[in-house]
Amino acid sequence: MKILKQVAEYLEKGDRERVYELTGQALEQNVSARQILDDGLIAGMKVVGDRFRKHEIFLPEVLMAARAMNAGMDLIKPLFIKEGVTAIGKIVIGTVYGDLHDLGKNLAGVMLKGAGFDVIDLGNNVPAQKFVETAEKENATVIGMSALLTTTMMEMKNVTNLLKDKGLDKSIKTIIGGAPVSEEYAKSIGADAYAYDAASGVELVKQLV
């Protein structure tokens, strides 16, 4: 569909006004919200992601595109909510208890939001309880945790254990990131995924929801 192609094109350029306008026009033409999302916004973001990985464009361009994506989402999200479904998925993120490093987590949050996820950011120094309670309350299907200190990374285990104890580990997936953690560490604590950066985190979260 031509209009969706245009949505994708302007999204790639990071033009949020045009994306907003075109999304509105598409809705007027009775294109379904799901189709606008999949074939317009997400299709555009996929191109952006690919070009970013090839270093053809840099993070600022990705974030501009993400902002344009959000502009389109503002229009179509209410329709999803009306139908009682989340557009793409809901994720709770935060930096673990005792840790104040939040730059990586923030970046992951922006990128996830840019990819269309509903992101609930609990900030830094977040106790395990809070992660789990919020995810339960908000019906989030993924918890994303960040830790930058050797001395705080084990907090992540408290979250995965708590999920297990409550029998939630099948319905709520976990993804972790930060300098001291790794793929192996994720496995060892029963987390579902490890992201070495925000962009790869987005791809992994897509698989988890």
Binding site: L100, T150, T151, A179, D197
Partner: protein, 485 residues
């Protein structure tokens, strides 16, 4: 003449400082610590307790700068002077607080344990061109609540050099201070002869956390020197331009200076930092980027202008292995830092965005430090004028190898690297075993570990700090400490 390098010049420095003042006095700084907020309020600053925000006043900043010591010294565990932070003096210290070590045998990273720490300390204690030690690794074989004090404990037990360190929590300060009192004997003696420098980090942009601002206050109470480690990330959490980043760094560092000097005027401080540009392709904070190093050298000029000795995280690399990238980034950093006169140069041994330590790299970097320290001695005439006599001697003798002039100045004019740097011709290098740099570095590490001699710190003091550490461990259920060799 001592060679130097300059990036800013007085006009630009004044403009940057004046913008930083404006930021402090209009936007202010967020400080998430009640005690510190109250202290500011008591000194007439505008404080919004609910928003944890302090709006500075020019006179508070100026007063703090006035009471800031223009120089200070560090002393080893036996009270001998090792570091003189003044003027353009430069001293090297290993990069600090890595998350991983690079294992020589596997070439993989892993979490460090007690043995790694002891090895490191045994090596650093013998490296001539690294003036102080730092608590470079976090041993993962002790309870996490003691892992910051435990590394200082091992450092003080095994190595005489003063220590660049820091805490992870407010609580750890107590024991880390008690170790120092045990070594020095009294508060007064510790004030007179500083043994450690604590790194204290503001949180960019324009913020102090509860923990790190309390660390500044606690150190000031005991006159323990601090180095402020402001980390604006250019293009991400700071303006993309180097000047913009410098303005932010200046504001953040000035705020630290004020916290310290309000608590205890005259507390020694280093005008430090670990800023970086943000690599928008890889989402990383490259310490080996030339722009990162330029920011470091430039804020050091600002520190000098304000009359405070300086520090920087420079002379380190983002390479993942001990390879050419590691050498070139560390080498360029060390060279620029020394030319700029950064007083405490933190970095040797460090790889991978300050997250990975390699003792092999440390011994390589020790050679970089040696050459750089030679570089900044510069070029001075030594009985070179008048020139005719030595040339007459040369023409007559056909060489100057045994000339008196040669014998007198050889070791002063030329520096001789250790076995890590190979200057043999190819045939001899082959005969020597064709070892790679990495292999030579590893052999040197083993050599140093074997030739280590225990610290001459008094035995009863050692026992005292062991008791302190054991007691601290028990607090967190660690009934015994890992074996030490």
């Amino acid at each position: 003449m001592r060679p130097t390098i300059e990036f800013l010049g007085k006009n630009l420095i004044q403009q940057i400082v004046s913008e930083a003042y404006l930021i402090l006095c209009t936007l202010g700084i967020e400080i998430h610590n009640k005690n510190v907020l109250e202290m500011f309020s008591d000194h007439g600053a505008k404080v919004d307790i609910d928003k944890s925000r302090v709006i500075f006043k020019e006179d508070i900043i100026q007063k703090a700068l006035k009471s800031a010591p223009k120089s200070f010294k560090l002393y080893d565990v036996n009270g001998n002077e090792t570091n003189d932070f003044s003027g353009y003096n430069v001293h090297f210290t290993p990069g600090s607080t890595s998350i991983n070590v690079l294992d020589y045998k596997t070439k993989q990273i892993r979490k460090p344990v007690t043995d790694d720490y002891i090895n490191y300390v045994k090596v650093v204690s013998q490296l001539e061109h690294i003036a102080s030690q730092s608590t470079a690794l976090i041993p993962a074989d002790v309870h996490e609540n003691i892992s910051d004090s435990y590394r200082l404990f091992l450092s003080l037990l095994y190595c005489e050099k003063p220590v660049v360190t820091g805490t992870f929590t407010i609580d750890s300060f107590e024991i880390m201070k008690d170790f120092q009192l045990a070594v020095r004997g009294s508060e007064k003696a510790l004030r007179e002869k500083p043994l450690t420098v604590f790194s204290c980090c503001p949180t960019s942009p324009l913020k102090w956390s509860d923990v790190t601002s309390q660390n500044v206050v606690d150190c000031a109470r005991y006159s323990i020197p601090v180095e402020f480690i402001s980390m604006p990330l250019a293009g991400f959490m700071a303006p993309v331009t180097l000047v913009g980043t410098l303005i932010q760094h200046t504001a953040e560092t000035l705020s630290g200076i004020v916290i310290s000097q309000l608590t205890n005027p005259g507390t020694p401080m280093l005008y430090g930092g670990s800023p970086a540009i943000f690599d928008v392709r890889f989402e990383t904070t490259p310490m080996g980027a030339i722009e990162t190093m330029m920011i470091d050298c430039a804020y050091n000029e600002i520190g000098k202008y304000l009359g405070i000795p300086t520090q920087a995280y420079i002379a380190l690399s983002d390479a993942k292995q001990l390879n050419a990238q590691a050498g070139l980034e560390s080498g360029i950093g060390a060279t620029l830092a020394a030319l700029a006169g950064i007083n405490n140069i933190s970095g040797p041994g460090m790889l991978d965005f300050e997250s990975c330590f390699s003792t092999e790299k440390l011994v390589v970097d020790n050679e970089i430090c040696k050459q750089v320290l030679r570089l900044v001695k510069g070029i001075e005439p030594k009985e070179d004028f008048p020139a005719l006599p030595i040339f007459e001697e040369l023409l007559k003798e056909k060489h100057l190898l045994i000339s008196e002039h040669t014998r007198k100045y050889l070791r002063e004019e030329h520096s001789f690297p250790g076995p890590v740097i190979n200057r043999a011709n190819r045939a001899r290098w082959k005969e020597m075993g064709e070892f790679t740099l990495e292999e030579r570095a590893h052999m040197e590490v083993e050599e140093l570990v074997n030739s280590y001699k225990p610290s001459t710190l008094a035995e009863d003091t050692k026992r005292e700090i062991i008791n302190l550490m054991e007691r601290e461990g028990k607090k967190y259920g660690q009934t015994s400490l890992p074996d030490r060799y």
